[in-house]
């Protein structure tokens, strides 16, 4: 039975398995330096991330370091979070022990590492000044130890934004240094999974950080559940508690009322009703209207407006000449738009268009799959996007 949970990442019997998606993710993880997984909030990214984390941890000899970047706004804190996340018994953990006693390192840094290793406490001494040294020490250590290792950073875009906002004057230098280090670590064998609910490409562009350091990451997205998956989700969550009184008719009515097939919509709807004594199917529409769509639809649709507003605030010309035409090209086409989505028009070139597509993908507007001829076809990321587009009057007919 699927145990319903709302509000955070889930695993075990709280998780609805999506085997094909999960396998695809693990395959891409193993074939690349790592994945960037950015998209709308509450669509299942963290659950997928948690699944990857658990799967990798079960792999013998694989070290997984997990960092929740929420609340972190400096390199120091980030480094401590990484070091805290290293399992003591693992090879990197032993390396950490060695590092903290390495006389070649400055005393401030050794003390900081010692404090962390011995007492789990963080020093307040700033160590970011030693960042190039630390970073290269880590890179060297990674090069020496070829055991499989993965760094998973949840809400990575929060970290970047927090750093940008904490000390705006020096933010670019610090963030670029961090991104460069992380790329170097990846090249030395530390695979990464960076996730977040703010599109990283848009954020980097907004603050004019160096995007080059992210190019080696492959983008991955969490698609909406298919209708078949959504049906299975609802069935798994209802069959046992209802003792069979939840029927296929209930599921059909539930799905047609749902509006979007993201797990948060399904769970919110299911939590609002008594699964042990299901209400008549024809009442589900009203229930969704009142208790689910009334909140969630508006919130997500407003978010698209807000994100578009942010794009315009950052670079009005780019938004109007590249982003909006791309949105029109894709969202006004019912069957999806094969590449090239938009012909470049000076001063914007194909790289600008590709970057714009990545931004729109990471912010939940668009998604991409392979068409019948192995060409890339761009589509609305979800029903929510389609709904927003209809309401926005931004389309060619709007």
């Amino acid at each position: 039975m699927l145990e319903l949970f709302y509000g955070g990442p889930v695993s075990g019997n709280q998780r609805f398995a999506r085997p094909a998606l999960e396998a695809d993710m693990m395959r891409k993880m193993s074939e690349t330096n790592g994945l960037s997984l950015f998209g709308l909030r509450r669509i299942g990214k963290s659950t997928l991330r948690l699944h990857a984390q658990e799967t990798l941890a079960r792999t013998e000899g694989h070290t997984v370091v997990f960092v929740d970047a929420q609340g972190i706004n400096s390199i120091d804190q980030f480094l401590f979070a990484i070091l805290r996340g290293i399992p003591k018994e693992s090879i990197p953990g032993k390396m950490l022990d060695l590092l903290s006693g390495n006389p070649a390192l400055p005393e401030t840094l050794r003390n900081a590492l010692k404090g962390l290793v011995s007492k789990g406490t963080e020093t307040q001494d700033l160590i970011s000044g030693y960042w190039p040294l630390i970073s290269s020490e880590i890179a060297d250590a990674l090069a020496r130890d070829r055991s499989p290792k993965t760094l998973i950073v949840d809400e990575f875009s929060f970290l970047i934004r927090n750093m940008a906002q904490a000390e705006p004057a020096t933010a670019a230098a610090r963030v670029n240094a961090l991104l460069a280090s992380m790329r170097q670590w990846r090249e030395n064998g530390l695979r990464m999974l960076l996730t977040g609910s703010i599109g990283l490409t848009g954020l980097v562009r907004q603050y004019k950080f160096d995007r080059e350091h992210l190019n080696d990451l492959q983008a991955f997205t969490v698609p909406e559940l298919t209708e078949e998956e959504a049906r299975a989700f609802v069935t798994q969550a209802t069959h046992e508690p209802s003792n069979g009184s939840w029927t296929a008719e209930h599921t059909s009515a539930f799905l047609s009322a749902c509006g979007a097939f993201y797990p948060c919509f399904l769970v919110k709807g299911l939590q609002a009703l008594d699964r042990a004594a299901p209400p008549p199917p024809d009442t589900l529409e009203a229930l969704f209207r009142r208790q689910v769509r009334a909140d969630l639809h508006d919130l997500f649709i407003n978010q698209f407006d807000k994100t578009l507003g942010r794009y315009r605030e950052t670079d009005r010309a780019h938004a109007d000449s590249v982003l909006l035409p791309i949105l029109r090209a894709v969202l006004d086409t019912p069957d999806g738009r094969p590449e090239p989505v938009l012909e470049p028009s000076p001063p914007y070139d194909t790289v600008d268009i590709r970057t714009a597509l990545t931004m729109l993908r990471e912010d939940g507007f668009l998604d991409r799959d392979m068409g019948a001829n192995d060409d890339r076809v761009w589509r609305p990321a979800s029903r929510l996007t389609t709904l927003w587009w209809k309401q926005s009057n931004l389309g060619a007919r709007g």
């Binding site: 709302y6 709280q14 929420q70 609340g71 307040q124 929060f158 909140d295 978010q303």
Partner: protein, 944 residues
């Protein structure tokens, strides 16, 4: 305050478990949802836990629910998997500015639960904040809390449920910085979690997409109590105070309270004792005391709102409720409904306002949910009427709390106590939906007072004009003008008039009846009272038979001793009453007597009035020749006396009789003259009546377009004066005309009629449902499909909710025939092709189709068959009659085709002879053909 039946508000944290259990009401579903989340978290811990956020306006029982969950969650506590419930105080001033202090506080509270000590009181003291070290402090506090959890749950398994009230406030103060909120979110979602947060909030916590806590909780929104919840609570409350459960009467009152407070549980608690109060002023004082007591609470509810929401709320209350968003936007000068939509949604979400469908309309109307709040707002925002009369702001409550009878009793009681303002409030409530503002009983009262004064000089306490002016201005204060020691006759007449104007006609009748019983041998007083009561019975109470009985007490001789004018008036009133009662011979004799007396005293106006009454009764008796003479004489006299309205009425009678005699052209001319005079006199009813008479004659002479135009003119008059009854007659004749000649305006007019009936739903208002078939006939004749479809769609609820009345569809068939006749067969066919499927769809959509509707198709066919002489059109329409419309349609098609064959035949009888006998009989009836004469049987010669 102690004088008022208020009970003390309770602190749920201090209530005993037993008290919480005993008073728990109406939150079963929400409690089950929270407990389910606790159970799931308990099973999952350490792991991913389900945090819960209970949303609800202040006073909706969030704290109570938290306490209830605390008690019930105790059942899950086991040795192997302990459950600790940390109920933080309602406010946490000690943690201000230090986000990490919240985690430290939870750790201390958990330690208190483990040790039984009260260490958290001193250990959780406020510490000077150091923002630079907050990140490290947060991690340290989180680690300390984990260490305490290890101590509290030595076996590894276990769950701490931390209940944090006013979480929205905590969030906006303690976690204002986004980075602090990110840490909180990270802490809530950390792996291996053992702390489930159960938070309560009034404002939003997890609804802002850009904030870290976006959708971090399972949110549960507390709904207002239903009336049944309120009743259950009142019963529990009474039981706990040793009182019996609510009886039926008090249950009705409990519902009124539930409505008034918008299902707010805290107010239900505070108003529980009002149920034992009958005195309205005491209730009002309780409300005011309540508003005072809840001033802080209400102020906070207002302060919780953003400025624009506060502004809209103010405009809603000041400008009058309920209202639509569109009207409210216009009221505040906003740029359309869209501009205020989101704020209105927020106001609804916080349950400050509630929307409901406009009865019979398309709009959603909004009003403030909690009426005590409105009472508070008016008092505090300086509404003068709220301060002058305590009852005026709680009308909704009084309306529902007291039955009609109780409202009238309260009004009389206040009148007798000399509290006219309060009496008026109740009288208005009792009179809602009824009463007639311009009945002759009221409008002719001045004349009757003049007569009273002339018959009993000096009996009136004030000049007639002043009495009438006071009565017009304020009947509740005029009620006492007769004085306690004055003439009982005068007192009764004044009191009765006041009561009637206050909508209490029954009480007025009791007053006059009582006075009549006390007149003993005073024949004059008896006659005056009997006339007064007759007017009351006929005009206000519609009790004709009683009026007859009352009038029998007066003989014409009673007036002999009266001054001449009073005598004329007395006889005229008597004649009018007799006419109104249908005793026309007596009315004519009495009227003629009055006219003769008036002539003798040179009272031309009185003579005209008397003759008008005579003419009316003559008309009722069918003596139209005599009406012409008497009516014309009455008109001439009225003109002489400059009584234009009287002249118009007299000419109206003449026009009516002319039409009855077949003198249509003259009837039309006189009718138009009567209408013009009535217009001059501002007498809308008479003007519309006269125009209708003109319409009849125009139709009789086949001047159909003029008839339709004149009918529309008559209807417009009725609508412009909001006269539903007159509108009914006028729209009816518009529809009749519209079945004969294209008049698309009839459709919209029907809609206006529906609206007027909705706004004047009293018993005397004619109902649009009687003319439904006329609507379809008008649409068929004008082929006004768009208008008809729009009307049926826009008012689908009104149609669906209408109680069934009969539906007679022959006029629809006649309209199709008229179209074919005037515009050709193709148009006749188009008319039928358009209306038939609409009729079928209309019937299918109506949950309770009107009587007769099941045979609509045979009625339409009968109407068409009777009026149509075009065999081709009959055959064409027959082709439309398929089972899609109705199962019996093909059978009706057979009839029409047979009729067409008969009509087309040179020798119809030959065709008829070969038809099915039933079909043939139908055709004979439709065409008025004689039944065939049975052939005489030949006598057989018996062979020998």
């Amino acid at each position: 305050m102690s004088d008022h039946p208020l009970i003390q508000t309770f602190m749920t944290h201090r209530m005993t478990d037993d008290a919480v259990r005993a008073l728990a009401t109406g939150r079963e579903e929400e409690t089950a949802q929270v407990l389910d989340a606790v159970r799931r978290s308990h099973a999952a811990a350490p792991g991913t836990l389900q945090h819960v956020l209970i949303y609800g306006p202040r006073g909706f029982g969030k704290s109570f629910l938290t306490r209830l969950v605390q008690i019930r969650a105790g059942d899950l506590d086991t040795e192997s998997a302990p459950l600790r419930f940390v109920l933080l105080p309602e406010e946490q001033k000690n943690v201000t500015r230090n986000p990490h202090a919240l985690l430290a506080y939870i750790a201390h509270k958990l330690a208190d639960l483990r040790t039984g000590e009260d260490g958290s009181w001193t250990e959780s003291m406020f510490q000077w904040p150091d923002p630079a070290k907050e990140a490290a402090h947060w991690n340290e506090a989180a680690n300390t809390l984990e260490a305490e959890l290890d101590r509290s749950f030595p076996g590894g398994q276990g769950l701490a449920v931390v209940a944090i009230e006013n979480f929205d406030f905590l969030l906006s103060s303690l976690f204002k910085e986004e980075i602090a909120e990110q840490r909180l979110r990270g802490w809530l979602d950390r792996p291996g979690n053992r702390v489930m947060v159960l938070a309560t909030a009034t404002g939003t916590v997890d609804m802002d997409y850009d904030r870290p806590l976006f959708q971090a909780f399972q949110s549960i929104r507390l709904r207002p109590w239903t009336p049944e919840d309120c009743i259950a609570y009142f019963d529990r409350h009474r039981r706990s105070h040793g009182k019996p459960p609510l009886d039926d009467d008090r249950r009705a009152k409990a519902r009124a309270i539930a409505d008034f407070i918008g299902g707010n549980p805290r107010l239900a608690q505070l108003l529980a004792d009002v149920l034992d109060t009958q005195d309205a002023l005491s209730v009002a004082q309780t409300m005011t005391a309540l508003a005072d007591k809840l001033a802080d609470y209400y102020r906070r509810r207002i302060d919780d709102l953003p400025p624009l929401a506060q502004g809209l709320l103010d405009a809603l209350i000041r400008g009058g409720e309920p209202t639509s968003q569109t009207d409210l936007a216009a009221r505040v000068g906003a740029d359309g409904q869209n501009a205020i939509a989101r704020i209105m949604q927020d106001l609804q979400r916080t349950d400050i306002i509630r929307g409901y469908d406009e009865p019979g309309g398309r709009s959603v109307l909004y009003q403030v949910t909690d009426r005590v709040f409105v009472h508070f707002y008016r008092l505090r925002q300086g509404n003068q009427s709220a301060q002058d009369s305590p009852l005026t702001t709680i009308l909704d409550f009084l309306r529902a709390f007291y039955s009609r009878t109780e409202q009238r009793d309260q009004a009389l009681a206040y009148l007798d106590q000399g509290r006219p303002a309060e009496a008026r409030v109740f009288a208005d409530l009792a009179a809602e939906g009824g009463g007639d503002g311009d009945s002759p009983y009221r409008t002719d009262w001045a004349g009757r007072l003049e007569r009273l004064e002339s018959v009993r000089p000096g009996c009136l306490p004030l000049p007639v004009a002043e009495i009438v002016a006071r009565m017009d201005a304020c009947p509740e204060t005029a009620y006492g003008l007769g004085g306690a020691d004055g003439d009982p006759l005068v007192r009764a007449i004044i009191q009765a008039q006041a009561l009637a104007r206050m909508g209490m006609a029954e009480e007025a009748d009791r007053t006059l009846t009582r006075a009549l019983a006390e007149t003993a041998n005073d024949k004059t007083a008896e006659a005056l009272l009997a006339l007064e009561r007759t007017f009351l019975l006929v005009d206000e109470l519609d009790r004709i038979q009683e009026a007859v009985t009352c009038l029998r007490r007066i003989g014409p001789d009673v007036f002999n001793d009266w001054p001449p004018t009073a005598r004329t008036e007395g006889l005229t009133d008597l004649a009018w009453s007799l006419g109104a009662l249908g005793e026309h011979d007596a009315a004519i004799a009495t009227g003629r007597k009055a006219a003769a007396l008036a002539e003798k005293t040179n009272d031309i106006r009185g003579q005209a009035r008397a003759l008008l009454l005579v003419a009316f009764s003559l008309g009722e008796l069918g003596d139209h020749q005599e009406v012409l003479a008497t009516g014309r004489e009455a008109a001439a006299l009225a003109e002489k006396a400059n009584d234009i309205r009287g002249q118009a009425m007299a000419l109206g009678l003449v026009a009516f009789s002319l039409r009855q005699r077949g003198d249509h052209q003259e009837a039309i001319a006189i009718g138009r003259e009567a209408a013009a005079l009535a217009a001059q006199a501002g007498a809308v009813d008479e003007q519309a009546d006269a125009l209708r008479l003109v319409v009849f004659s125009l139709r009789d002479t086949e001047q159909r377009e003029d008839a339709a135009a004149t009918a529309l003119e008559s209807a417009e008059l009725a609508f412009s004066a909001d006269k539903a009854f007159t509108a009914m007659w006028s729209v009816s004749i518009v529809l009749e005309s519209a079945a004969e000649t294209p008049c698309p305006q009839a459709i919209a007019l029907f809609g206006r009629w529906m609206d007027l009936c909705h706004t004047q739903p009293d018993a005397n208002t004619a109902d649009w449902r009687i003319a439904l078939a006329g609507l379809f006939a008008a649409a068929a004749r004008a082929r006004a499909w768009e208008s008809l479809d729009a009307l049926l769609h826009d008012r689908r609820e009104a149609f669906a909710n209408a109680k069934p009345l009969y539906f007679f569809g022959q006029e629809i068939g006649r309209a199709i025939a008229a179209t074919g006749r005037d515009e050709g067969r193709a148009m006749g066919f188009a008319s039928a092709a358009g209306i038939l499927p609409r009729l079928a769809a209309f019937g299918a959509d109506m949950p309770y189709p009107p009587a007769g509707f099941n045979s609509w198709i045979s009625n339409v066919v009968a109407g068409l068959a009777g009026a149509c002489r075009d065999p081709g059109l009959l055959r064409d329409v027959a082709g439309l009659l398929t089972t899609d419309l109705a199962p019996e349609a093909p059978a009706q098609a057979i009839l029409l085709r047979a009729l067409a064959d008969v009509d087309a035949a040179e020798k119809p009888e030959r065709i008829l002879a070969r038809l099915d006998p039933d079909v043939a009989t139908w055709i004979r009836r439709v065409r008025g053909l004689p039944d065939p004469t049975p052939r005489a049987a030949k006598k057989r010669s018996r062979k020998r």
